[in-house]
């Protein structure tokens, strides 16, 4: 392979070739560097003669083009040991955790694309993408699910883990437990020590996320991910963002300008909640919790669901129907009526009609008149259906 041949290619074509030669870091190189790397790699492959022909698929055009040039350069040798180009299709070394895998149900409605995608050979493929388990960070993120529950997810990167092992020593590290320390920091400028209270959750099963039952609406929360070391010492790994659970219930605070009385509040509440006019506060409170379980908004059976062809469950059932096909042929330019209604003929003069056939007797006069109006033919099938 000659340098002067390669420099004629565009950078994209070179990247193509580089990809097939598995040159790592190729995107970062300049064109010159790429050419050098390709030549080097190519020669290395040849010298070793450790390659076999495993080219299973027809190569994309661009590779063919490159190959032709290469062949021109070192024809004989090429024929003995062509470049190894393996399809880069890593198949499933997926970890056992389920969430990043496609759902098990068969992928319905996904026929093969009809046209080839642009530059299919080089382009990254979405199908090959695997959601990373972690991004190399050390962090914990807190989300609010509802007035009583939080959700946390986290990751600890390798450096941090190494650091912890070193600090504690292998033995102590192993005897320590990963925990979440959940702080109630309502109205506090939290410095790690001044929370109203906290509780610990031991993380089990190598989990990387957790639902936390804080059980208290209208409070502010922060969570530390850390190690609980024997002798009850806590070693912080990372601290979460701060969140607040929403209030659940009437605010005790009233506003002078917009004074409102509790009685009026519940009156209006009763209407708003759809519990009728003038319901009592107790009724309203009880009914209100219930109403959250009703599907009267997003998630109602008709929302996006209804587009997804979700069918009702049925018990065992049987349906039988009959249909009748009436077909025939005549001169292509003839005029044909069936039961007095004109029908369209196909170009060759044939026709087909399909009827749902209910119980009873049907007379089906079919009449054809020639284009010049001279000839006339009429045939009348009579069909009856009876159901027992």
């Amino acid at each position: 392979m000659e340098k002067k041949d390669l420099v004629k290619f565009t950078k994209e074509e070179l990247l193509d070739l580089a990809k097939n030669l598995k040159i790592i870091g190729r995107y970062a190189y300049t064109k010159e560097e790429l050419v050098d790397k390709i030549i080097k790699k190519y020669r290395a492959l040849h010298r070793g003669e450790r390659t076999k022909v495993t080219r299973e698929k027809k190569l994309p055009k661009i590779i063919e083009k490159v190959k032709r040039v290469i062949t021109r350069g070192r024809k004989k040798k090429i024929e003995e040991t062509p470049v190894v180009i393996r399809e880069e299709r890593k198949i499933e070394e997926r970890p056992p955790r389920p969430y990043w895998e496609a759902p098990v149900e068969p992928l319905q409605a996904m026929p093969q694309p009809q046209k080839e995608e642009v530059s299919v050979a080089v382009a990254p493929r979405e199908e090959q993408f695997v959601f990373p388990r972690a991004y190399g960070d050390t962090k914990i993120v807190l989300l609010v699910r509802d007035p009583w529950w939080l959700h946390a997810y986290w990751e600890i990167n390798r450096e941090k883990e190494m650091e912890l092992r070193q600090t504690l020593g292998e033995d102590l590290y192993r005897r320590s437990k990963h925990i979440l320390r959940v702080y109630d920091i309502t109205d506090i400028d939290f410095d790690g020590t001044n929370a109203h209270s906290y509780f610990d959750i031991e993380i089990t099963g190598g989990a990387d996320n957790w639902y936390i039952d804080v059980g208290k609406p209208n409070r502010t929360w922060c969570v530390d991910l850390g190690l609980l070391i024997p002798e009850r010492k806590f070693l912080l790994i990372c601290r979460s963002n701060i969140v607040r659970t929403p209030r659940f219930g009437m605010s005790e605070i009233t506003d002078e300008e917009w004074m409102s009385f509790e009685e009026d509040y519940w009156k209006l509440f009763g209407v708003a909640g759809g519990f009728g006019l003038g319901s009592s506060p107790l009724q309203v409170k009880r009914a209100f919790k219930r109403r959250f379980r009703e599907e009267i908004s997003s998630g109602a059976p008709w929302s996006l669901f209804s587009f997804m062809e979700k069918k009702k469950e049925r018990r065992f059932w049987l349906v039988v129907n009959t249909e009748l096909i009436v077909y025939g042929a005549t001169e292509p330019d003839a005029k044909v009526t069936v039961q007095g209604k004109p029908i369209k003929l196909r170009n060759d003069g044939t026709f087909t009609l399909r009827f749902a056939l209910p119980d009873g007797t049907q007379h089906i006069p079919v009449e054809a008149i020639s284009a010049d109006g001279i000839d006339k033919r009429k045939i009348t099938p009579i069909v009856s259906r009876r159901t027992e």
């Binding site: 149900e105 530059s119 382009a123 659940f248 008709w302 996006l304 587009f307």
Partner: protein, 530 residues
Amino acid sequence: MKEKGYLALILHAHLPFVRHPEYEDFLEERWLFEAITETYIPLINVFERLLEEKIDFSLTLSLTPTLASMLLDPLLQQKYLRHLEKLIELADKEVTRTRWQEDFHQLALMYHHRFTNARLVFAEKWKRNLVSAFRKFQEAGKLEIITCAGTHAYLPLALHRQAVRAQVKVGVTLHQELFGVRPKGIWLPECGYNPGDDEILKEEGIKYFIMDTHGILFGSPRPKYGVYAPCYCKSGVAAFGRDMESSKSVWSSIEGYPGDYNYREFYRDIGYDLDYEYIRPYINPDGTRVNTGIKYYRITGKTEDKLPYIPSWATAKAAEHAGNFMFNREKQVEYLYSIMHPRKPIVVSPYDAELFGHWWFEGPQWLDFLIRKINFDQKTIKLLTPGKYLEIYPKNQKLTPSMSSWGWKGYSEVWLEGSNDWIYRHLHKATERMTELARENNTPHLDGLKRRALNQMARELMLAQSSDWAFILKTGTFTSYAWRRIRDHIARFTYLYEQVKGKYIDENWLRSVEEKDNLFPNIDYRIYAD
């Protein structure tokens, strides 16, 4: 006599962005097609007639940026017409096939008429651009169109302000491009509100948003008028709370109007009922039976033996239900006015637009009757938009609403549970990466290719954030498409991120992605830089 209060009917029209140029036919693209035929066109027809007959109305419509983008996409418009042609062909065959069954025959004729009318409205009348139809009603002063977060992201779980801001900015910008004005209001996806998000709305000049009942009722200080008057958040943006009583009568599949036995049964579709060979050309190309939209039965009762649908009975019911709804609102408003006067209450009733017509076939008729009855049969209530209510009553109580959503159980559980909680790790990381690159490249003079890559990253991130995917994952069935969408967008985002970082952008591939996920053509990645 003057009215005693107001009714704000709000239709939330939304579908996630589904567009697959790489496939000839794609099952999920039918969501849009069905909604156009069954909801958007019937609603446009109702509004059009009211306008012609000079009957006043005042409604609010949130048209989400993803839906608007799809309605304006030439490829989807083309595909829709093809879909509609097939439907007309099928309806034509049905007219013949049902000749010996009078009930069905009449219905086949009705569908044939509806579909040909849809073609007329879509192709001839509006030249494929239904957004311009809605714009016309807004300009006529009958419709207040509000915007929504860019891709309908569930904002309380967005974590980063940048993500919320970008979603809001994209919605507002697109609205301005399409309607020539800034939106007065915004529909927060799933009514998901998190205290503080209103500050971002304020930055974009938004005057109000809609939230669920308990968001206001549990607000602090205690709301004097409950949900029957708006409240100003700290930022000065107004929050309108949903009225549950009026919601229930329409929403609930059991107690609500749509469950009436005379109404059309949604689940009996000829796509499932008819002989396979006959229906084969009109269902999914892979041979799976799907809904065609032609349905011949009425709900009938709690039975599987459904009886034929009789349009005139259903119409009579729709009129009756409209009368009932109006009567209940009159009573409600009188009661509220007795507590609140001299302030006139506003009853806010939001519904998903696709309920009308798609699920509740008679919904558009009901709406038509309701508007007419309100005009002619009573004087207690008047239709009004939230924007206009704020003009009448600019002074309102200040409070901090409570975090809430209109999802099942009222908070975030629908979008944050075992089946879908894993997505946030990736969405949040992508937001951080987007912010990082936006800040590194915060200049208007960026080289073309890199700018394109960064803009596309913003599109991919936003598409991954659509609340619809998390919602579908939660439903537990038909999850593969949603999973695939999240994977594809995160994958495209990640590859682009690596390419921008690696200083080599694969232009061919970028172009292919731009062609697929082509919404928000004027997006500017620097919305993430703030």
